[in-house]
Symmetry: C2
Subunit: 380 residues, 2 copies
């Protein structure tokens, strides 16, 4: 390639090779290390999927038992971390807290391991596990309630719901929560994963890299789509108003949230599973209001697009907010939950980056002014 | 450009246009917004340079008075932040603490300002100012001493030394410290600045972006060069042993730290100023031991390179560690001090990124395996 390829936003540039994630947007397929997201959602759980991402293979019984145990004993938060969560200003966003806590946690791990560039992130699973505990604790304190210590007999997703609510979720809720974490654990290169890799490429620690990635995910161009879908559902207010709302939005060239995807031209496979969860949960909770509104939005939107010869499907964010809502999770936690899940993928990318590292060092093109004389203060 | 330019580490790719920094490596010149680093080092100070970087021009008297006042009243640390510093595990690195504190600080600013993607980082100078206070406080606690509240009548550099030592530095020391901050405030695209821009490109906050950049700077391929120079000086132990040490290092193809620069082919202009500081401070403190060793290293190294027809100069890191040492600053603070200074440049780049934003979204090339069947646990 030439010395001076200019690619604003790095568009069209391949920055690295990767073995972790394959997205087949035409066919609507997503694979982690070759395993389809449908299979992982149905048969796996978040702990096993994390193992798969970090080791590149499915664990045998001994491996998953030891890995799962390491994750579960790391769930409880140290008193200093609880203080950070408790003292964090009420009006601030939990994503900022998460970013802060992950950096701070790095002080608590064995430093001989952690400070080496070749540190095995797989030994210190704090940063994977404790995100969930911090999010749950933040919500408890935010509601003026006490911290609920973790339980070791629950899955990662079920334990999160338990720590947040203070009571054990039923089996189906636990499965849904855990599977949502599986489905968001990895999705190839995107701004947060790229951020994690850029930081890792300086041979910084996995904590520093993940903290940085959380900062990226907080950006409104990256995370937050499912939050905006629920805001839309709230604005619409009822199934009977959905068609008119969508028509008006499209007439006024406003964006309908959660429809279409930059990569998936066929239906996002995660959206299919998420829709099933939303329907089943809605039935079990006798509250189909969000589901009904969403389906009406989808129907109207797709009809309007088909008139233009376009086939556009809802994406995973279209249904996930409704699922989280029915699990009792407030909107402000949607992006933190994304981080709780994606941290597994970030770690996988950090490890991959280290295996064949080159520091990311693009150039900039100087378009500023020529040299000028310094003018003393009294002459300005 | 083609759709599939592969540029490992983004080498040779121009990722953005920038007006902030010009480096003329051939001539050994460095400019911030058109002003030479020599002029800024001689006539400006860290507060004025920060203003220049954030506003693109030198301030008039009214502007600098109000800006400087805003910076100085932000120096003191909140009790919760002091707790974070105090509770941070002793064996952990202050860079991790800095990264954590910057994210945490974002909870303390007016959120209507801060959470908007167009937030004016220039109003909330916490993240610039408080880094210095956190570094000083960390050092105090690390030595088992009390926090020293800041003074508003000192320059940014002098106040840092005051908060770290508990006594006021003399005028020359204050000027040297402040000028070191001026000289490290900006240096174009590099991994940490690029990280700040990647995070900013998601429309995340300036705090999140700077926190991420700190994580990058902590990487051993990025920050830490001056720390390694001082370690080398300590290993050499005396002027009379320097020539032999360098010869042996070169014979064994070991790297001599602080010599040469990826960008500067002529002498790094900051190295010239830093060398003057080191010589003058050494005389004033009656301790020329580091200076003598360094000059002997330089002489031997340059002679050996000249034999091969190469002209390689010492860079800024070659002398800065010695300067910091004579100011009473321990090695572990060298990279945190780099962050205290570079934060001004990071902010300038965040603002520039926002003015003409496109999210950084490079691609990856999938080189992993084909789809495979999920194997149940009992069959693995």
């Amino acid at each position: 390639m030439t010395e001076t390829t200019y690619a604003k936003g790095l568009e069209g540039v391949v920055a690295a090779e990767s073995e972790i994630c394959r997205i087949d947007g035409e066919q609507g397929r997503l694979y982690y290390l070759g395993y389809s997201i449908q299979d992982l959602a149905r048969y796996s759980d978040f702990e096993e999927t994390t193992y798969l991402l970090l080791y590149g293979k499915l664990p045998n019984r001994g491996e998953i038992e030891s890995f799962s145990k390491r994750m579960r004993i790391s769930r409880d938060l140290a008193p200093e971390i609880l203080d950070m969560v408790r003292n964090f200003p009420k009006e601030a966003h939990p994503m900022e807290l998460l970013q802060s806590v992950v950096s701070y946690l790095s002080g608590y791990v064995q430093h001989k391991i952690q400070h080496s560039a070749t540190c095995n992130c797989r030994d210190t699973l704090h940063q994977v596990v404790q995100l969930a505990s911090v999010v749950a604790a933040w919500q408890r304190f935010h509601e003026g309630k006490d911290y609920i210590p973790p339980r070791q007999d629950l899955s990662h997703g079920a334990n999160f719901l338990y720590m947040m609510r203070g009571e054990e979720p039923d089996e189906y809720e636990g499965k849904v929560m855990d599977t949502c974490l599986v489905m968001h654990a990895e999705h190839g290169f995107n701004a947060s994963t790229f951020t994690a890799r850029v930081v890792a490429s300086t041979l910084s620690t996995c904590y520093c890299s993940i903290s940085a990635a959380i900062g990226s995910l907080y950006g409104s161009l990256h995370g937050g789509a499912n939050e905006r879908v629920i805001t839309m559902v709230e604005k619409i207010g009822g199934k009977d108003k959905a068609a008119a709302w969508v028509n008006q939005a499209l007439d006024n060239k406003r964006k309908v949230m959660g429809m279409g995807h930059r990569v998936y031209k066929a239906k996002d496979p995660r959206a299919i599973i998420m829709e099933e969860f939303l329907l089943e949960l809605s039935k079990r909770k006798n509250d189909t209001s969000s589901y009904d509104i969403l389906k009406e939005v989808e129907k109207t939107f797709r009809e309007r697009m088909e008139e233009k010869g376009k086939s556009i499907y809802p994406n995973v964010d279209f249904f996930s907010g409704g699922v989280y809502n029915l699990l009792g999770i407030p909107k402000i936690l949607f992006t933190p939950i994304f981080a709780m899940s994606r941290v597994a993928g970030w770690l996988a990318h950090i490890l991959e980056q280290r295996r064949d590292n080159r520091i990311y060092r693009p150039k900039s093109l100087y378009v500023g002014r020529d040299a000028r004389e310094y003018v003393p203060l009294e002459k300005r």
